[in-house]
């Protein structure tokens, strides 16, 4: 089915509740529905198996309009269906929860509730979950009339302190991991309740390094924001800058020259290699296999040098400008890239052999943390984590963008869904990337590197999705026609993959937990673009007793 047919199918599905259909661009369908119909409409989309819920964006239309809008983005191939729900800004802006139908929605709904002051009815847990504990009540940072002065910490409320569980029972106690812990070099906090060695409960909290980037973007102009969004993540910085530029270019209706697109794909490919090799090392270290860690990081230096040679930077490459790229691939760089890729390819093949044949390592990966295809769909997993379970979630394949139309890639999937499969998927994916990059370097289209993008971007809204190393990256951009954006919303892939850790840790050994966390390749800094707190049993609030029961049942199976 092509995009047009998919959108027509979606329109037919929603015909009972659709108040108004909009087609902002050929790949999108916006359906305006009322809050009361939201559940029924979602159920219909879910039952028809139409795509997956990619993100929920909250919009504040301002005090004059007196309304707020929640946008539920469903993606199916390159078709994007957006359910638009409007509610009054002054009243409680009640929207029903759809987390019962689509479990991962609770992450997005909590963001909506805390950041914009929507009231999500049916979301049982209304505790302060997204913002710091000392954040004042009824102050919503993403509202347009928010003033920084309002965010003064409320004295007497301890920030970032979880209720101390301490010793839970006779043999049960809580093992805290993070935000300062050797297993986790990033600011996340997990609490695992263990009975001896067996984990009986898991919960987590993020948001220790919140930088308020989405809010900051609203006070910067379009080109300043490019550099701001590049800093959302320190590992996949290029994909963030790219997603942002693609969105802006879509809004400005600017066509990026083919040469620039090819160079963007090349840098994205190198970034994927660097990100996955970094992950390979970290994951091996979590398993206690430091030799693999040292070797993969040594080889990662090759790709870091390539990136430095092309862009001049090792981490935040700053390869993009709005409307193109600013780095050229000359004969010298092309030669270096090809030589580097040859070396990397041989190394990646070697690592693939190691992770699939080393008996001691397989002891720690084979059959551990297995996520079935159905669970992957239910949890809404993305990227390599989903592909290891046989679920093809790869924007490069499903909805090719930029140079991927010209230089397509194939999706790599595995069916086992365990940690081993996640290693295999990521490494095989690198081989595909190496092949594509070589093709790109050999067939670089001629032409300019960039086109001019106006200072003021025409009013409108755009969605740009692309495949980051960790999965689908979703950007929503809205312009009012000014020099600054009206709203930018980012949904990073890590946010969708947390469930895989929390669900799978229960019933396993404590020794497997670091591997499970590493298995989804979490990116904390991506998440901490917004404050997010998630708790175990996020499929609607399981009590400790239920969690323990789940653990016992899981383990006795």
């Amino acid at each position: 089915m092509n995009t047009e047919q998919l959108l027509q199918q979606a329109e037919t599905l929603l015909v009972a509740w659709n108040k108004e259909s909009l087609r902002p661009d050929p790949t999108r369908l916006d359906a305006v529905i009322t809050a009361d119909d939201l559940r029924a409409a979602t159920q219909a989309i879910h039952d028809a198996n139409w795509g997956y819920l990619s993100a929920i964006t909250g919009l504040d239309l301002g005090p004059e309009a007196g309304q707020m809008e929640a946008l539920y983005h469903f993606c199916n191939g390159s078709a994007i269906l957006t359910l638009r729900v409007r509610q009054s800004r002054e009243a409680k802006a009640v929207v029903p929860s759809i987390a019962e139908i689509i479990p991962p929605a609770s992450f997005f709904e909590r963001e909506l509730q805390e950041m914009l002051g929507f009231t999500i009815s049916g979301l049982n847990n209304n505790n302060r979950l997204f913002l710091p504990d000392d954040w004042p009540e009824e102050v919503y940072p993403m509202r347009t009339d928010f003033k920084t002065a309002q965010a003064a910490p409320v004295p007497g409320r301890l920030a970032d302190e979880l209720p101390e569980e301490g010793v839970v029972g006779g043999n049960t106690f809580v093992v805290p991991i993070g935000p300062q812990h050797p297993a986790l070099k990033e600011p996340g906090h997990f609490e695992f309740t263990v009975d001896g060695e067996i984990v009986t409960g898991a919960r987590m909290r993020l948001g220790y390094a919140h930088r308020g980037i989405e809010k900051a973007a609203e006070s910067r102009n379009w080109s300043q924001n490019l550099y701001l969004f590049e800093r959302v993540c320190g590992i996949c910085s290029h994909t963030h800058a790219l997603a942002y530029s693609m969105g802006v270019e879509k809004l400005a209706q600017v066509e990026v020259p083919p040469r620039a697109q090819a160079i963007r794909e090349l840098v994205a490919g190198l970034e994927r290699v660097h990100s996955h090799l970094l992950w390979l090392g970290v994951a091996a270290h979590e398993a206690g296999f430091d030799t693999l860690f040292m070797y993969s990081w040594r080889d990662r230096e090759t790709v870091m040098s390539l990136l430095e040679q092309i862009t001049g930077n090792r981490v935040n490459y700053s390869a993009n400008v709005l409307g193109g790229v600013k780095c050229e691939i000359g004969p010298e760089q092309a030669k270096a890239v090809k030589e580097g890729l040859n070396y990397l390819e041989s190394r990646i093949r070697h690592y693939l052999e190691v992770v699939t044949t080393d008996v001691m390592f397989l002891n720690r990966t084979r059959g551990i943390g297995t996520i079935s295809f159905d669970e992957a769909v239910k949890f809404g997993l993305l990227g390599p984590t989903a592909r290891a379970s046989g679920l093809v979630r790869d924007v490069r394949v499903e909805a090719p963008y930029g140079a991927y139309l010209r230089f397509p890639v194939s999706a790599v999937t595995e069916t086992n869904g365990d940690l081993e499969a996640r290693f295999v998927v990521r490494l095989k994916e690198l081989l595909v990337s190496c092949f594509t990059m070589r093709t790109v370097v050999d067939n670089l289209p001629e032409g300019p590197l960039s086109v001019r993008v106006p200072r003021k971007i025409p009013a409108g809204e755009a969605i740009s999705r692309l495949e980051a190393p960790r999965g689908e990256l979703f950007y929503y951009l809205k312009s009012n026609g000014g020099e600054n954006p009206a709203r930018i919303h980012v949904r990073t892939p890590s946010l969708c993959n947390w469930v895989s850790v929390l669900e799978k840790a229960v019933g396993r050994q404590l020794a497997d937990v670091p591997m499970l966390i590493a298995g989804m390749d979490p990116c904390f800094s991506c998440n901490d673009r917004m404050v997010t707190v998630a708790r175990s049993g996020d499929r609607q609030n399981w009590s400790w007793e239920q969690l323990r029961q789940h653990g016992i049942e899981y383990y006795s199976r």
Binding site: F173, V174, V175, P176, I177, H181, P182, A183, V194, G196, E197, A284, H285, E286, A287, G288, F289, D290, T291, M294, Y295, R298, D358, M360, F361, N363, R364, Q509, L510, A511, D512, V513, P514
Partner: protein, 306 residues
């Protein structure tokens, strides 16, 4: 005169001070070898000494919940256990300082004192990481101790004596690595288990439980525990060399044989992935113990035939 010479042997050379220094040198050799195998540069030769000096200069923080007597006493107990064990083994190719029939059993149990002290220390500090580390350490001890003992009994049976000095003398003419290869492998891996080296480092798996049983230790306490480990490394290697590698009867022979063993251990350390505690126990009881028993049975049968 006799007393002075005995005191010298115990406190300065070959046991005591010299042993501690040699232990730290061996720790460096181990670290350097592993680093080179992992494609790293590794530390310079004085790094373990520098670490030790730094730790001794630092304040030792005692957690409020810990029993102070145990907290300060356990490191000393661990070190003294390892140092006492050193008296019964032919360190640096020197004749043993003290010897009596059956000292093999005493030595093995003195060597276990380190693990037990660390277990009690982890329990005493009542930190969650320490508690899990201590549990794991003690669980692991129950797994490797019996096979390790069995593997050392093989040469003892062959030599017809449970006295280390006599076994050492016997093995000067018998390379028991050739006649008892299974026992050698079990003993070597058992020694790695005793020293909590990878892949048996679950008790101090930093990615799960920080530093395991010693998480709350700092300053002198930690330094003494580390020293105990270094000493135990040397004592264990000496024991292995004198039992299986044709004995040690000179400082050069001692160095060659023990460093060769250390090299093998370094290769294992860098090649193998950490085992989960259940896997460790499973491997020891399923393979280690059975292999050790088989070796002993063969030895008994062989002795019976003669």
């Amino acid at each position: 005169m006799n007393t002075i010479s005995a005191l010298f042997s115990i406190l300065i050379f070959p046991a005591g001070l010299a042993l501690i220094l040699v232990g730290m040198l061996y720790e460096w050799v181990d670290r350097k070898l592993v680093a080179r195998l992992q494609n790293r540069i590794g530390p310079r030769w004085f790094q373990p000494f520098a670490d030790m000096l730094k730790l001794f200069a630092k304040e030792q923080i005692s957690p409020g919940s810990a029993n102070p007597l145990l907290f300060f006493g356990l490191p000393i107990m661990a070190l003294s256990g390892a140092l006492t064990a050193a008296l019964y083994v032919p360190l640096m190719g020197r004749p043993v300082v003290h010897s009596f029939p059956g000292d093999l059993v005493v030595t093995i149990y003195l060597l276990s004192l380190l693990t037990m002290s660390m277990g009690v220390a982890g329990w005493n500090t009542s930190s969650r990481f320490s508690l899990i580390g201590a549990t794991r350490g003690l669980t692991q001890m129950f797994a490797y101790e019996a096979p390790f003992l069995l593997a050392l009994l093989g040469p003892a049976l062959a030599a017809g004596s449970w006295q280390i000095s006599e076994i050492n003398a016997y093995s000067a003419n018998h390379w028991m690595i050739l006649t008892q290869p299974v026992g050698f492998v079990v003993a070597l891996i058992g020694l790695m288990g005793k020293l909590e080296l990878p892949p048996f480092d679950a008790p101090e798996a930093e990615t799960e439980i920080v530093a395991g049983a010693l998480t709350d230790y700092s300053g002198r306490g930690l330094a003494i525990f580390n020293m105990g480990k270094s000493v135990e490394l040397v004592v264990g290697l000496t024991l292995m060399a004198s039992f299986y590698l044709g004995g040690v009867d000179g400082i050069l022979v001692f160095l060659i044989k023990t460093v060769a063993l250390l090299l093998v251990m370094a290769v294992f350390q860098s090649l193998l992935t950490r085992l989960r505690i259940d896997q460790t126990v499973g491997i020891w009881w399923r393979f280690g113990a059975i292999m050790g028993l088989a070796q002993i049975l063969i030895m008994i049968l062989w002795r019976g035939w003669l």
